[in-house]
């Protein structure tokens, strides 16, 4: 499937604090968006010529991601790839043994473009976003 890296997903317990730390490395923060489906606050840290970083701060009652945060601390936890056709990419990922969290859904952080997530034992978490 045709794809390119869209962003690196970065788990944080304090989005503003992580964004200001990334500012030291030349990254500029975008406005924060609340994603009620994923139960997270999200923004991007952008730097010309570099892959952007998606900062993900789970809501307090997002127990599963709060536990992930507690286990691994702040840091990268997924890579997102942009694909032309998310429906066929979703099926291709299933056929290759990737386990889906959910079927493609519209994401507010991407202006309504659809995303889906997968996990595979050999690689970890992969997100797809439609172009």
């Amino acid at each position: 499937m045709e794809n390119k890296i869209d962003h690196i997903g970065w788990l944080t317990d304090d989005i503003e604090s992580t964004a200001s730390s990334l500012a030291l490395l030349g990254y500029v923060q975008t406005p924060i968006v609340n994603d009620d489906t994923q139960q997270c606050r999200i923004c991007f840290a952008k730097k010309p010529g570099e892959v952007r970083i998606e900062l993900v701060e789970p809501f307090e009652d997002n127990k599963t991601m709060q536990k992930m945060l507690k286990k691994q601390g702040c840091g990268p936890y997924h890579i997102c790839h942009e694909v032309d056709n998310i429906e066929s990419a979703y099926e291709e990922m299933l056929d290759s043994g990737f386990i889906p969290l959910f079927k493609p859904v519209a994401a507010p952080a991407f202006n309504g473009r659809r995303i889906c997530y997968f996990i595979k034992q050999e690689i970890g978490y992969i997100e797809l976003v439609e172009s």
């Binding site: 127990k63 599963t64 991601m65 536990k67 992930m68 507690k70 286990k71 299933l94 056929d95 043994g97 386990i99 889906p100 969290l101 959910f102 996990i119 595979k120 034992q121």
Partner: protein, 79 residues
């Protein structure tokens, strides 16, 4: 491998992934409704942890076929 042993090991996986030693499973348990804090993310984390625990791989069709712990155990024993 006996069903009782599989259930015990699966229960331990649930407790570890969900970080909750209070979880008790039986074959009738429906995780989505009966297990506290169970969601789509913890579901796939548990699937991966079970694969690792038993040294097996599930297909997407198998994962989608489980309605309760009994059906999960059946799938593990059929591997």
């Amino acid at each position: 491998m006996e069903r009782k042993e599989v259930l015990s090991r699966v229960e331990e996986v649930f407790r570890d992934v969900l970080d909750n030693e209070e979880i008790v499973l039986n074959e009738e348990t429906v995780p989505a409704t009966d297990v506290e804090d169970y969601d789509s993310l913890s579901h796939v984390q548990i699937v991966v942890a079970i694969q690792r625990e038993f040294g097996i791989k599930f297909t997407a069709a198998e994962i989608q076929s489980w309605n309760n712990v009994k059906e999960l155990i059946d799938c593990i024993l059929n591997k």
